[in-house]
């Protein structure tokens, strides 16, 4: 029998995004030897998100996160908008309580992630940028390291934090390719505007920020939505559309993106701006169904790679779930290293910790949300119905006024929606969201 090879590291983390960096940071803090491998030229250079980070979890890991990290604006204004062709109905929720304590901030990942990686380095992790991990090394059912080109590096535990495409876990047979209705594509531009212009247009002061979410005509009726977030001196704007619906409706994704930016209710926000960057990102929308297997002998999967994103209709979350999964993974991996047993059975503590935390609990609470959000009516008829009811109330055409309930009933009669659908969707929505 040959002597087992002494690994090069306790832990190798693949991918320097939020999940990868936070896992690496915490394991390095525990005194483990940690290698963080990143395929981008530098950490952050492959990373992109819509831009809103619910920041409490991050503050538990980095108590000075909000004052030290390069974050953009504190979100104190949430603007939820049904946008039709010529009309729109919105809820404009502003609240000083969202500023103190801070609830959510906008971020630009090419700026934030290098800060996170620097924290890992300070804590003692070794960072290797510009290196693509091609696959994991296995011995029997066990992951024992990574292969990058001709190099082989070994570790007691590998952490797959390689993002939504999750090639590492799929390649080793742990995870399957997700179905199209569980995936969406996000297309985004960063548009520069003077700070003062942004504050005037969104009626913000200081480092306050706004998050606009839009559904309806902004995606030409394709399941998904539009977003517009304020950074310090730029806007993050884009769309997210479900792949099954995009292909079924034979739409061109860039046409939808252009349509949103040129929409009469969106274009004025961008006036005079200059596009700084254009990017896109696949989004896991399957919720709990997409989490699946995240632990095997010698490996755990965290963040987007584990399918950890949530669309609750009002909030769209991914980065905070990445933080939560990293915290759970670092605790479980640390304990397994202490026990000198990094088998699937021991590392399963990661899954238990994850599902005992806000991450797993929220995935369970919103388990029905993805199916509900596949309701086609959400992306056309409901917005139009809302506008029609309000038009009936505001349009003083010299006909005698009617009570709002009667106006609504009249609008519904002219809408393709049926009252039973409305009731059914109302109940389903109340249960799912």
């Amino acid at each position: 029998m040959t002597e087992p090879v002494e690994p090069d590291f306790d832990v190798i983390v693949i991918g320097a995004g939020i999940a990868g960096c936070v896992t690496a940071y915490q394991l390095a803090q525990q005194g483990r030897s940690v290698l963080l491998v990143e395929r981008g030229e530098e950490p952050g250079s492959k990373n992109l998100s819509g831009g809103v980070l619910y920041s409490r979890g991050m503050e538990q890991v980095f108590p000075d996160f909000l004052t030290e990290a390069p974050v953009e604006r504190r979100i104190t204004r949430n603007y939820i908008n049904f946008i039709n062709g010529d009309s729109s109905v919105a809820v404009d929720y502003r609240d000083a309580r969202l500023a103190e304590p801070v609830n959510a901030v906008t971020v630009l990942r090419a700026k934030l992630d290098p800060w996170l990686a620097a924290k890992c380095e300070e804590a003692g992790a070794l960072i290797m940028p510009g290196v693509r991990v091609d696959r994991v090394l296995t011995e029997g059912t066990r992951v024992v390291g990574v292969q990058a080109g001709d190099d082989e590096l070994r570790a007691h535990v590998v952490v797959a934090a390689d993002g939504v495409n999750s090639f590492i876990a799929q390649d080793v047979g742990l995870r399957k390719k997700p179905p199209q209705h569980h995936l969406a594509v996000g297309v985004k531009a960063v548009v520069s505007l003077p700070r003062k212009t942004i504050e005037d247009r969104f009626t913000l002061t200081g480092d306050e920020g706004a998050a606009v979410a839009a559904v309806g005509d902004c995606t030409e009726g394709v399941g998904g939505g539009g977003f517009l977030y304020t950074n310090i001196d730029s806007l993050s704007i884009g769309i997210v559309v479900r792949l099954d619906d995009l292909t079924a409706k034979k739409k061109v994704v860039t046409d939808i993106f252009d349509h949103f930016l040129e929409h009469r209710f969106i274009a004025p926000y961008l006036e005079g701006g200059e596009m700084l960057e254009y990017g896109c990102h696949l989004v896991a929308e399957g919720g709990l169904d997409m989490v699946g297997d995240i632990v095997m002998d010698g490996m755990v999967v965290v963040g987007d790679a584990a399918g950890l994103t949530l669309n609750t209709g009002l909030t769209v979350r991914g980065m905070d779930l990445a933080v939560g999964s990293a915290v759970a993974a670092a605790e479980a991996v640390g304990a397994a290293l202490d026990q000198k047993n990094t088998s699937r059975a021991t590392l399963a503590a990661y899954r238990e910790k994850l599902f005992a935390s806000y991450v797993g609990k929220d995935m369970e609470t919103y388990a029905k949300a993805p199916h509900f959000l596949e309701t086609d009516r959400m992306y056309k008829e409901y917005g139009e119905l809302l506008a029609d009811v309000l038009y009936g109330a505001f349009n003083h055409d010299l006909k005698p006024r009617e009570h709002l309930v009667k106006v609504a009933r009249g609008s519904l009669a002219h809408s393709p929606l049926k009252i039973m659908q409305l009731v059914k969707d109302g109940i389903a929505g109340a249960r799912a969201l």
Binding site: R39, G40, E41, G44, S45, K46, N47, L48, S49, L108, R109, A110, K111, L112, D113, P129, G130, V131, R132, A148, G149, V164, N165, F167, K177, P178, Q180, L183, V185, G186, V187, A189, V190, V191, S234, L243, L246, T247, K250, K251, V252, V253, T254, F257, D258, L261, E262, A267, L270, E271, G273, E274, M275, L276, E277, Y278, G279, C280, H281, L282
Partner: protein, 95 residues
């Protein structure tokens, strides 16, 4: 602000082009037979794919923003797509 055409939009980004190796390969026969060809032309935000008059799918891999949407919708065997080699491809400065 009128959105620029996609090709001009992409000039705003920074890319490290891997001149030796493409990370994308289309199986033309399967792409045509399954409809994957037309689908990836429509769904790619960077317009990496285009259809020639004879139905062949042309690939401009240098423009790829590495999201993986094409792979997610491709029929089995129609597309080989992986990340570019380390250090190559798009390098976001905003993200």
């Amino acid at each position: 602000m009128k959105p620029l055409p996609v090709t001009e939009r992409l000039t705003k980004n920074r890319f490290n082009l891997d001149e030796e190796e493409s990370h994308i390969e289309v199986n033309q026969e399967i792409a045509k037979a399954t409809g994957t060809g037309k689908a990836i032309v429509a769904c790619c935000p960077a317009h990496v794919y285009s259809e020639d008059p004879d139905g062949t799918i042309a690939v401009e891999y240098a423009a790829c923003l590495e999201c993986g949407t094409c792979l997610a919708i491709a029929a089995p065997g129609a597309l080989k797509w992986h990340y570019p080699r380390g250090g190559f491809g798009v390098q976001f400065r905003e993200g």
